[in-house]
């Protein structure tokens, strides 16, 4: 795509801007759709109907109406809040989650920046979200916000270890940190995907990655940073209007980002499951987005079926279950590669 743009336009700056904005074209409609979907999925899992009236067919206009409401809402800043940090936090949150998309290959023809250290970059920039959460929690000057922020930071830092180890398993097989290169290695039928290779190590690594990534994006069963019954809304308690919307947007974008990474590393990314059938740049984008959306749906499914973990259970899962098993996978793959 970069080459294509280069053939038409001559201006470097313009080309880079276009390349940088492309993921937004997907993210914004995706967020509108997924917020509606989340409400529908949660409703149907609890034998309710969810939004039904706005827009006619199954309340499809509900999110757009909500967005209009949030846009018009008065922006309330608490008198005792730290003004600068309070206003800055939502932007850093969204910047951190959007920066991840720079290295995610949407199709064989489009990747924001095909760098050699793609996966490593993603792991690094996703830590920006934690800084933003801490900033929001501290600046709000509210005890619920502060506790939510601290829980969130502790949780994300803790679950980064199993996530990185699980990713390392794939990196060891692929021998490359570039996500586009990892995708090219999984071309062909679906048994070429990494999840089915070197059974069962990569499969276990995939499960570990998925569980840990749920904790990274603060989804149930790991949503203690925003536990409604204890902390009102955690670090976003004091936010209203568009700033609240920015946090929600970042949360849903993060959900897709971790799903996209899971799809790319373990399920072949933009590769078609059926060899050459329906492959090519546009179908690649279709397969990639459908795999990502599938994981987003699983995240919702888990959210509305599982109860929330206690803090000590959270520690137990990370340190005594996920991390040792991730090490087992890394050592197992290492030995297998040497043979």
């Amino acid at each position: 795509m970069e080459q294509f743009l280069r053939n038409i336009f001559d201006n470097d700056f313009f080309i880079y801007t276009v390349m940088a904005v492309v993921p937004l074209v997907w993210i914004l409609p995706y967020a509108l759709f997924v917020i509606w979907l989340e409400r529908k999925v949660s409703a149907h899992m609890q034998d309710r109907l969810g939004p039904m009236r706005t827009g006619g067919w199954h309340g499809w206009l509900q999110t757009i109406a909500d967005m209009m409401k949030l846009l018009q809402k008065e922006d309330i800043i608490p008198a005792a809040a730290d003004n600068k940090l309070y206003n800055l936090a939502p932007y850093i949150m969204f910047a951190g989650s959007y920066a991840v998309f720079a290295a995610i290959p949407f199709s064989s023809a489009y990747i924001g920046s095909d760098m050699n250290i793609g996966v490593f970059y993603i792991i690094a920039v996703s830590s920006l979200a934690v800084v933003a959460i801490l900033m929001a929690g501290w600046a709000s000057n509210n005890k619920w916000s502060l506790f939510g922020a601290m829980r969130s930071a502790a949780q994300v830092v803790r679950y980064e270890i199993p996530t990185v180890l699980a990713i390392l398993v794939v990196i060891m097989i692929a021998g490359s940190l570039s996500l586009q290169e990892i995708n090219h290695q999984q071309t062909g039928w679906f048994w070429n995907w990494y999840i089915f290779k070197k059974f069962p190590f990569v499969f276990i690594a995939f499960i570990i990655y998925f569980v840990a990534s749920l904790a990274e994006v603060n989804r149930t069963p790991f949503d203690i940073p925003e536990a409604e019954s204890e902390l009102v809304a955690g670090y976003i308690t004091e936010y209203s209007g568009m700033k609240f919307a920015m946090f929600m947007l970042a949360e849903f974008v993060n959900m897709f980002a971790v799903s996209a990474i899971a799809a790319t590393l373990f399920l072949g990314g933009w590769n078609s499951p059926f060899g050459d059938f329906l492959s090519g740049p546009f179908w690649g984008a279709f397969w990639f987005l459908s795999k990502g959306m599938f994981f987003v749906f699983i995240q919702m499914w888990l959210r509305w079926t599982l109860p929330r973990l206690r803090v000590d259970q959270l520690m137990y899962v990370s340190w005594k279950v996920l991390t040792p098993w991730a090490f087992v996978c890394v050592i197992g793959i290492g030995l297998w590669m040497m043979l």
Binding site: D12, F13, D82, K84, L85, L88, I92, M115, N116, I117, F120, Y121, I123, A124, V125, S127, L128, V130, V131, L134, M135, W138, L146, A149, M150, A153, V157, E160, L177
Partner: protein
Amino acid sequence: MNLFDIIFYFFALIVLVSAGIVVFSRNIIHSAFSLLFTFFGVAGIYILLNADFIAVAQILIYVGGILMLLVFGVMLTNKVVNVEIKTGTMHTLPAALLTAMTAGSLCGIFYATDWTIVEGIPEIKSTTNSLGEMFMTTYLLPFEVASVVLLVALIGAAMIARRDKSLQQ
């Protein structure tokens, strides 16, 4: 001025302004969060200089690790235990002398060095491969020693943080 220069000055400006806030801000939490932009700007300059691995490692370790620890420490002491942390000016004369000496020697080195610009270096395709190879061959001993030191520090931290059983009974 081409795109390279513009990007360099942009990141340099970010580094300088945010570092200024780190030093001059009266509010310690503003200093801590301002450090985020300093690290980010330095990482940007690293990437501009083709050192992508170092740039990302910088963000991962300094933003994801050290900055978080710093903010956590400030938050725990300031808001939860109610200790007022103040930054102020003290020991003005020795501080001015020391900083003047450091700045002077840095400027001296900068002007005294005969900087040579090597032209025509081939574009580096992958930094991680060569870095990994060097870690496993030429610099194996320092690499292993560093990891042992880190492991010792980790065990030490766990030992200190452990609940003392004899005190409990």
